[in-house]
Amino acid sequence: MDLNHSKALFTYMSSTENTLINEFPGQVQEVPGGGIVLTKIDDLVNWARSNSLWPLTFATSCCGIEYMAVAGAKYDFSRFGFEVARATPRQADVIIIAGTIVNKMAPVLKRLYDQMADPKYVIAMGACAISGGPFFYNTYSVVKGADHVIPVDVYIPGCPPRPEALMHALITLQDKIKRGMTREQMKQGL
């Protein structure tokens, strides 16, 4: 699939540093001679991070409703400790792109992502966030995939994905974080 950047997006992206491929943020630095203690601490930190993914309240369209449903009583992602939805990116860990990203929104999304404190993760929920989905062809304003704007960790196809699908994605993401995988490793590993 050819990757088309929109004009506005392109100028925006070239004006700032392209952070598409960067180091895995929030890495625990190597301390020489750490040895076994450090790995244990690493494990602890990864465990904590994976179990406390606070999402940013970011929902642009229809998928946002299913995201709300996951927050709702029947599916209840608070069981995993994810219910602390923060309205400000400074305190959020994971940004769930629930909905279409259009050209006008792309800089906003990028800014929100940039403003998040490390470590941060991104979940693209729904066809729109993955690729523009229903609005891939013959539209002039839709970004064809949120990963043109910010790096994405997990993709959930569906339009909208079921609440369980989002939960499945969160669990797999959790799993990867627990194993201390970087974004690149995740991409290759599955």
């Binding site: 004009k7 506005a8 050209n103 013959n138 002039y140």
Partner: protein, 151 residues
């Protein structure tokens, strides 16, 4: 009122208007220059004040634009469609947002997507697209090789 009756009323009100039966509602064609005046009259029409502008849009006919105004009288529940033909190279029409306040956003949208200039509009800026967008996407000849992937 039936369409015939509305036709009578309106032809009295606007002698220059032309009529056309397309679709279920009465279609009225008005010259762009007369439009503001006609709008005022329609709004204050005694028999059926068309006080409710429920739809405002534009159609690109490749040779010309047609502004389409859907009006309703909330007292008699009659609907009419007013069509104003515009020049395609220089589409300009008077704004009606002082008559129907809801028209303000509608007109901005039409300006944004078709490039129709609404004279005396208080705040004619792009509404839906970014301010630096080039072109008017709902025109039939709009080409955008970067954003639009043709199926």
């Amino acid at each position: 009122m039936s369409n015939e009756e509305i036709k009578l009323v309106i032809s009295e009100l606007l002698p220059t208007a032309s009529f056309e039966e397309a679709g279920e509602w009465l279609n009225i064609g008005i010259e762009a220059a007369d439009w503001k005046d006609a709008a005022q009259k329609l709004r204050n029409c005694a028999a059926a004040p068309f006080n409710f502008l429920f739809c405002l849009t534009c159609v690109d006919w490749k040779t010309h634009f047609t502004m389409v105004y859907h009006l309703r009288s909330t007292t008699t529940l009659d609907n009419i469609v007013v069509k104003v033909k515009l020049d395609r190279t220089n589409p300009e029409v008077m704004t009606v947002c002082d008559i129907w306040r809801g028209a303000e956003l509608f007109e901005r949208e039409v300006y944004d997507l078709f490039g129709v200039i609404f004279l005396e509009h208080p705040d004619l800026r792009r509404l839906l697209l970014t301010d630096d967008w080039v072109g008017y996407p709902l025109r039939k000849d709009y080409e955008d090789p970067i954003n639009m992937i043709k199926l």
